[in-house]
């Protein structure tokens, strides 16, 4: 590579804005964030953009590049035809603060609503024991870097604007990581069903497609949570057993997991 490229970057704030074109020199191996930072250093010192690690590990530089939610630090310029301008804009599902920076504080509020990890007792020798095969799934969820690209692309949050009713894919992943943690003893299923709105997800898998960590959000987190809700609240045998045990539902977190798609209420 080498030569120059054009970036069309959205500049503005909550009151409005427009795309501004910048031409900047580029070299081999550069990513979109490199080009943005070069423009910032040389042409537009006050261009607002979040970034930290520049290696796909912190999830700060989330934005929409050519209409797709992406991490700017992991998006190489050579992904796009050399002559065309590359269009860069802030995440659409969250309010703009300035330029490429959005207000993602709603996500931090959702996280605080989730009842925290609650471990059971240690073994008599003071250790916790978990088999690797039992934590593989939880470790997949814990790869999440909180870039919120899944939140940005989720139809329920982005198009239907139901932030009041659904916590979004990121927090379904967080809930799944707690519910499937072998040591956790808390029961979050009533919240998952009602307040967190698992039923609203209609399994379009857009979140999974944009996840930079390749977490199988829909198949491994959301669908199993839907199944657990179905098993507890809609399975007649479970309901009968639950009634006999004198409480609603059973020990749902001990139920075996199936991998198939669920016939959950949409």
């Amino acid at each position: 590579m080498g030569g120059e490229r054009t970036l069309r970057i959205w500049r503005g704030d909550a009151s409005g804005g427009q795309f501004v074109s910048y031409r900047t020199p580029v070299e081999e191996g550069m990513v979109v964030l490199d080009a943005i930072l070069r423009i910032q250093a040389e042409q537009a010192n006050d261009l607002a953009v979040r970034w930290n690690c520049k290696a796909g590990k912190c999830g700060s530089c989330s934005m929409e590049i050519e209409g797709r939610p992406r991490l700017a630090c992991m998006t190489r310029l050579n992904l796009y035809p050399p002559e065309a301008a590359i269009t860069v804009q802030p995440l659409k599902a969250f309010p703009v603060i300035k330029d490429l920076v959005t207000d993602v504080s709603w996500n931090y509020e959702q996280n605080r609503r989730i009842p925290p990890f609650q471990p059971g007792a240690r073994d008599p020798d003071g250790q916790y024991r978990m088999a690797q095969c039992d934590v593989d799934r939880v470790q997949e969820f814990r790869k999440c870097i909180e870039c919120f690209l899944c939140q940005d692309v989720c139809h329920i949050l982005r198009d239907r604007e139901r932030k009041d009713a659904f916590v979004g894919p990121r927090f379904m992943v967080r809930l799944a990581s707690l519910e499937m943690h072998p040591l956790d003893v808390a029961d979050r299923l009533p919240l998952i069903k009602e307040a967190f709105g698992v039923g609203l997800c209609n399994i379009t898998r857009c979140c999974t497609e944009v996840c930079p960590e390749h977490i199988q959000i829909t198949d491994n987190a959301i669908i199993p949570l839907k199944e657990r809700v179905v098993d507890r609240y809609y399975d007649p045998i479970q309901r009968l057993l639950g009634w006999l045990r004198g409480r609603r539902g059973g020990t749902a977190r001990k139920l075996p997991m199936s991998q198939g798609p669920a016939s959950a209420p949409a």
Partner: protein, 616 residues
């Protein structure tokens, strides 16, 4: 300026920085009943701790039952070339296992041993597999665990808020000033204690693994407030950063690659590390490839030289490149592809696989990586009391990378994450004890707040001035070429002279635009701390006339006995320039000295150190 109109918060304890150390400190202070707040420059959970990859060192003894705190302590002292603070190395080795288990209790999911316990991996300078880890994303696991725990403890978080300076009431701390990045509005924190957890100042160099946040804010604020800094000449160059493509030069490649069996090769395909084994480590390092290949299965075989300490490996790579045996892009080769199966590599090093695939178009399961040294870590920092983490300024505490003492002249990989937890917790309890003992709430002396804000807003208000980004690049080139991995007195003196000029220019940069989320303004402000930190490093490096650990002087080769007896302590002089003092090292208790200098055989057989107390 009317100070009474500026937004003001009151807390008992203010923690500056929300990486591992800051979060752990806040959790502890809050647990001890303090009204606690955290300010952080980025969003919560984005701090540089997420970049830590390999693991956290703690002698749990899960992977090898022979491990214990004494061996961890001995490894840490040897790795630090005996310049570490004895008490801190002791506290760290003894307390790290409890801090790791506590993290598990708060929800961290470490990789497991076949028995279901926390798995541990080998790392440079550690005698036994000691690093609790999660693949190669241990830092992320740590920060998310602390974050998710902390948000339920009643701690106040002020996100995207940058601290500008400390406030004092006479000699003691009375709070701090800052600004909100989003709006540019100013804010005052009136607090009884401040804990600095701001990390290092790696962004003063061109090739670094550090993010934009690493601008030495804590060093500069402490220095301006009269605190002592120590060991600032010791800046660690991690041996393995990416070297290609140019835009990712310096990005970290975890030592875990070597811990999992990766080897370093030069352009002739030689495992060159066998030629660079220092005398101190010769007795415990394999002498031939054949012996290294038998390790660890054969208990008679010694550790491969690729697992020597970082200072040694970084200098060896530099020498190979300098002598013309480097890789095409000026590094050496790091090969794991020919040594481990592809699925094993993807499982144990997933983010390395991902990082090279996406950023360099290299498949590390099939091809070797190209790597070279990258500025990674400050061993030095604020001089603190080992047990309370308080500086010489009453009410000012520091922990994590921002504090000095645990690592001496060189840090072992994996000792940083455990440092954050151990000394974060001690700083939190130290601050709580200090606040409980205060008779009255300190009040900032008049004029301080106005002076700090006037300076910060001057970059916005002036008519014209230099571009802060381009001046930053100039600083990076200067430090890279004159205060690098190998130093000379002549070059250091030249660096100090040029830094004086740069310091003046930095005061006069211009930030264009408004105060609302303006990175140019933020850059202008952080440039000041960065230049201050750079000057302190260069002055300390000029003063230490020997080569030890991460500090290599071509004009003073080798360790000198007289320099092993002192640490360099830096204070701000009346003229604003760093004043350097040689401070004699405290004598350790007899048992620590014996353990540190024992042969591994005597230590393991209990001929040495048997009478050392296990409690802290």
């Amino acid at each position: 300026m009317d100070v009474s109109e500026i937004q003001t918060f009151e807390h008992d304890v203010l923690v500056i920085g929300a990486g591992g150390a800051g979060l752990r400190a806040a959790i502890e202070a809050k647990a001890q009943g303090m009204d606690t707040a955290v300010v952080c420059k980025s969003l919560l959970g984005k701090a540089h701790t997420v970049m830590a990859e390999g693991g956290m060192a703690a002698a749990l003894g899960n992977a090898d039952r022979r491990d214990n705190w004494k061996i961890h302590f001995r490894d840490t002292m040897r790795g630090g070339k005996f310049l570490n603070q004895w008490r801190m190395a002791e506290l760290h080795a003894k307390l790290a296992p409890a801090r790791v288990r506590e993290l598990e209790e708060w929800g961290a999911v470490f990789d497991r041993t076949p028995d279901g316990l926390i798995a541990q991996r080998n790392f440079g300078g550690h005698r036994y597999p000691r690093l609790a880890h999660v693949g190669d994303r241990t830092g992320l696991e740590m920060i998310r665990t602390l974050q998710d725990y902390a948000v339920h403890q009643g701690i106040t978080f002020h996100m995207e808020c940058t601290a500008l300076g400390l406030l004092k009431d006479g000699e003691r701390i009375a709070g701090a000033c800052g600004y909100w990045r989003e709006t540019g509005r100013l804010v005052v924190f009136r607090t009884k204690a401040v804990i600095l957890a701001t990390g290092g100042a790696g962004k003063a160099w061109r090739v670094t693994s550090n993010s934009w946040e690493y601008t030495g804010d804590g060093f500069a604020m402490a220095y301006e407030a009269g605190a002592e800094l120590m060991d600032m000449e010791f800046t660690q160059f991690h041996p393995t950063g990416m070297v290609w493509p140019p835009s990712v030069r310096g990005t970290l490649v975890t030592e875990g690659v070597r811990g999992e069996g990766g080897v370093l090769l030069n352009s002739r395909g030689e495992r060159f590390m066998f030629r660079y084994i220092p005398e101190r480590f010769a007795a415990e390092t394999a002498a031939t490839i054949e012996e290294a290949e038998r390790w660890p299965d054969d208990p008679q075989a010694r550790r491969p030289p690729e697992l020597l300490t970082r200072d040694v490996v970084a200098r060896a790579i530099r020498a190979e490149v300098k002598e013309g045996r480097g890789s095409p892009h000026g590094g050496v080769f790091l090969d794991i592809a020919s040594r481990r199966p592809a699925d094993y590599i993807r499982r144990k090093l997933p983010s390395m696989y991902h990082q090279f695939k996406e950023l360099a178009e290299v498949d590390i399961t099939r091809q070797p990586m190209e790597v070279g040294p990258t500025l990674h870590y400050f061993m030095g920092g604020v001089r603190v009391d080992p047990d309370t983490q308080m500086s010489n300024v009453p009410g000012l505490f520091a922990c994590g990378e921002c504090a000095a003492g645990l690592h001496g002249a060189n840090r072992l990989g994996g000792n940083s994450l455990s440092d954050l937890l151990v000394f974060g917790a001690l700083a939190g309890s130290g601050a709580a004890a200090y606040v409980r003992g205060l008779a009255a709430t300190p009040k900032p002396e008049p004029g301080q707040i106005e002076a700090i804000f006037r300076q910060a807003t001057s970059y916005l208000n002036r008519e014209s001035g230099e571009n802060p980004y381009l001046l930053h690049e100039e600083l990076q080139d200067l430090m890279q070429s004159l205060v690098g991995i190998v130093r000379t007195g002549e070059e250091l003196a030249q660096a100090i002279e040029r830094l004086q000029e740069l310091k003046q220019r930095a005061r006069n940069v211009k930030a264009h635009g408004s105060s609302q989320y303006n990175p140019g303004w933020h850059q202008a402000i952080s440039l000041q701390s960065l230049v201050t930190s750079a000057e302190i490093v260069a002055c300390a490096a000029l003063a230490r006339e020997e080569s030890r650990g991460a500090h290599t002087r071509l004009d003073f080769e080798g360790e000198r006995e007289e320099w092993g007896k002192v640490n360099l302590v830096v204070r701000r002089g009346a003229d604003g320039r760093p004043q350097i003092a040689r401070v004699e090292r405290p004598r350790p208790p007899r048992y620590l000295e014996e353990i540190a200098h024992a042969t591994i055989e005597d230590l393991e057989a209990g001929r040495v150190g048997a009478d050392a107390p296990d409690e802290v």
